[in-house]
Symmetry: none
Subunit: 238 residues, 2 copies
DNA sequence: TAACCATTTAACCTAACGTTAACAAAAATG
DNA sequence: CATTTTTGTTAACGTTAGGTTAAATGGTTA
């Protein structure tokens, strides 16, 4: 089968290390573009469509986090792996805020990096099955405009939705009458699947249920241990 | 969320190394069963449902390759990783013949093993998404939706099934009118074949019989000492 | 700084689930 | 036909997931 190599943007200021890593990844069937600093990295990012970014944190002029933030503005889904010399907690936190997919502390085993890359790309590729560009939904007698974050019941005044409410309802709508796995919402919306994000999600399910109570045809059911299901019953009139 | 740990069968004759490795994997959220030789390894493999096998090649009585061949006869898809002291070409070839998924030469970096395991399991799990599993069944007048865990009788309100009820009924349906061996359900669903899981399964058979009582055409028969049979009689009307 | 809003965290409660025990019935064994 | 093994059924129990409300946090804006 014809398979195109995955494209990786590698931003690393140490030229020796950068070239070695680039060659290593190249030998493993990745197309690697090497940038020597954050500035150059962003330029290259804008010109090409990469599948994954590997960013050194400690770089002159523009550090990895700042670069990541800029990259995220252009593409909120691209996987980012940080290379960092320090294990400092604040750095890790900072990284997660800009949506790091993984971390590696230098020095690291190159084979480990390879497996992380493969694992992330695989995860993303299965996730993207759920990716959709649909932003408007008819849900029973409700209409959801996910771009404007409006939920309208019949001819009433639209209800304003918060970002999280909106994303969650949209994800449910994308799976209308089908299972929307907990894990999917947590990784897509909260970007982290742990006890607290899970509880947070439950809070938002409660909020959505409150909104949706207006329409008897619509309800959010739980499938224990699996996720939720947005059920839209057939209108008896039709 | 209910996430069951992956089960690994580790067959390693060096007791010290075996225990260390078992503990290390255990710390990383794997359930590891350790066997001291090929014989014991195969016994344990038959009793439980593992997700992956790690086999030492050099072992007394029964070497890793022979064991792998036996394991492959029972399950042609289970991932196998070989641990070997030598890098000899013929061994590598021999390993690939029995379908090795990966190799590690001793001594190896434990973190590398960890990433190999994760990568392999992830690959297998996405592969298995593709081999279209059947999740919907017509059972007499019942309809089973195994994805949403619903059992619907004619036009009545669907009955919610618990995960175990659902899996068990699905397994019976896959063997409709045929024997569904006890051992199969126990290893596949309970992942362990012992007295207690066996009694637990009987409890679930009772629950399913209660649900299925609505339809005279459907019943679960026991075949003493063998297993169960989901019988669907022909509808006289058709 | 105060006031506001979205989100997270905490606390507490209920429902769902699976296992186990206990006892009954049926089938196999010899 | 007495005994053992396997299966059937019910109920109690402990654990975990989910539901709900309110308070804490944190960022933004006036």
């Amino acid at each position: 089968m014809e398979t195109v190599n995955k494209k990786i943007l590698l931003v690393e200021d140490d030229p020796n290390f950068g070239v070695v890593l680039k060659d290593y990844l190249g030998m493993n069937d990745f197309d690697v573009t090497l940038a020597k600093n954050g500035m150059e990295g962003f330029e290259k990012f804008r010109k090409e469509n990469f599948d994954l970014c590997i960013l050194d944190v400690m770089m002159p002029y523009k550090d990895g986090f700042t670069l990541a933030k800029e990259i995220r503005e252009k593409d909120e889904n691209i996987p980012i792996i940080f290379l960092t010399a320090k294990t400092m907690k604040e750095d890790v936190l900072k990284g997660y805020k800009v949506g790091a997919d993984d971390y590696l502390n230098k020095p690291f085993d190159s084979e480990v990096l390879l497996f992380k890359i493969k694992a992330i790309l695989q995860r993303k590729s299965t996730e993207s099955l759920a990716d959709s560009k649909q932003f408007e939904f008819q849900i029973g007698n409700f209409h959801l405009n996910s771009k404007l974050r409006f939920l309208t019941y019949k001819e009433e005044e639209p209800i304003k939705l918060s970002p999280k409410e909106n994303e969650l309802l949209r994800l449910l709508a994308l799976h209308e009458n089908d299972l929307m796995p907990r894990e999917l919402a947590l990784t897509k919306i909260w970007r982290d699947d742990n006890y607290f994000t899970s509880r947070s999600m439950d809070v938002y399910i409660a909020k959505l249920r409150k909104y949706l109570k207006k329409d008897d045809l619509v309800e959010i059911l739980n499938i224990h241990g699996e996720g939720f299901r947005l059920v839209v019953k057939e209108d008896a009139d039709r």
